[in-house]
Symmetry: C2
Subunit: 224 residues, 2 copies
DNA sequence: TTAAATATTTAACAGCGTTAAAATCTTGAG
DNA sequence: CTCAAGATTTTAACGCTGTTAAATATTTAA
């Protein structure tokens, strides 16, 4: 019994283990960012992280498990950005949300692109979504729409669910196109905002509508 | 010289060759539809089509070439649907376009899903797009918007390019979500139309706007 | 009919993810 | 301090993949 407890609390051992685990994952991320997920070979990774292949299996698991770890971290960071958003200024909220995400992606553009590709390639986002990330992501613009309706910014002839969902779709489309390399992060911003402003304009009060149209005319039509 | 000409016109030989080539591709499509592109193994395919693996290499080429053939055919069929569209009734044009595509996909749903996945996984759509398919696809809603502007259906405060591009984006998003299995073909229709109607409503004249709002309220909010 | 061109198959290669078993290192009790 | 027990890493292999050179069989043209 004591043995078991001792083994669990054991510091030097388990700490080193975690250290190596993180080092392996870091190298994996760098390789994925530079060459894409398909180019991540376990033997290369092992050499890069200065371990042997079975060690990777011991500390992390196979390639699917590795992917899971990476996706989990991606989802965590996305959730952080999402949680820090506030709806005080509804009109600005949609825009700052996009801006925050763009800033996050800019921190390591190659990596985030690769992670997103890996994510929806192996259907791991679906699983994550069932664990709540998707529902909460779409809930954000829905809530924003509700607030906008209560302040009269939106007329309410389109349900907040319908519009919020579509706005989230605009973000996803822009993200997808950025991930696929159709345009850069600036293009992501422009494309996402174009879609969002167009959606909002469908149900905006006259003043808000003209502000939106104004903003739209100053947004470039993304080239591809 | 005669040899060369004779060899090219040679019928029995080249006809049989083409026959086998098509048989192999048909089997490939069926496997892809049933099990996904990653599950397509050359040895399985060879056994299924009653040839040996190097024959596949001789008649078609490696896996990338096979994918190219399949994508090319997909693009051709999409183009057919696209070319048969007419803009006489602009208000209905957007909807019939979506309906036509949904019908096409319904002919062999599993296959089209797999083909789309394979398509944007290997960046083959980008190449196809540079060969014109994307430009023409996005041109269609842009033209429709222009007509709608000239008939007064749209006010014109949003440029036809901007709106048409966004409408095409709505279609792509819905298609993507259908491909990823988030919803079925009915969901694809509903989702695409929701996005399109919302976009149009942003710049619609009052009567058209209220018709759009009406249609929107009768469209279900897609579940995921 | 026979020589040449063409197509198919046999048989192998290299690279991948994965894993059992041997070797090494770390830990804690005596 | 020693040394057996346990945890960890490595050696060495397996099976599967896409791919291809060389041998074999088939078809065509003279």
């Amino acid at each position: 019994m004591e043995k078991l407890a001792a083994a669990k609390n054991d510091s030097a051992r388990v700490v080193n283990k975690e250290k190596r685990r993180r080092r392996i994952l870091d190298h994996a991320r760098r390789i994925i960012a530079k060459k894409g997920f398909d180019a991540l070979k376990l033997r290369d990774l092992a050499a890069s992280a200065d371990v042997t292949v079975p060690t990777i299996y011991n500390l992390i698991g196979g390639k699917p498990e590795m992917l899971r770890f990476i996706i989990e971290e991606l989802v965590e960071r996305l959730q952080e950005v999402q949680n820090q958003s506030d709806l005080k200024d509804v009109e600005a909220a949609f825009e700052t949300q996009i801006e925050d995400l763009a800033k996050l992606f800019a921190e390591d553009e190659d990596y985030y692109r690769a992670a997103f590709i890996a994510g929806d390639r192996s259907g791991l986002f679906e699983q994550s979504s069932s664990s709540g990330i998707f529902a909460r992501s779409v809930q954000l613009p829905v809530e924003a729409c509700k607030v906008a309706q209560s302040t009269g910014l939106l007329a309410g002839s389109v349900s907040a669910e319908q519009m919020g969902r579509q706005i989230y779709g605009c973000y996803r489309l822009a993200r997808q196109d950025w991930v696929n390399g159709y345009f850069d992060l600036q293009g992501f911003r422009d494309q996402a905002l174009t879609g969002i402003f167009l959606c909002l304009a469908a149900d905006a009060n006259p003043e808000f509508h003209s502000r939106l149209i104004n903003r739209l005319s100053s947004l470039p039509v993304a080239m591809r």
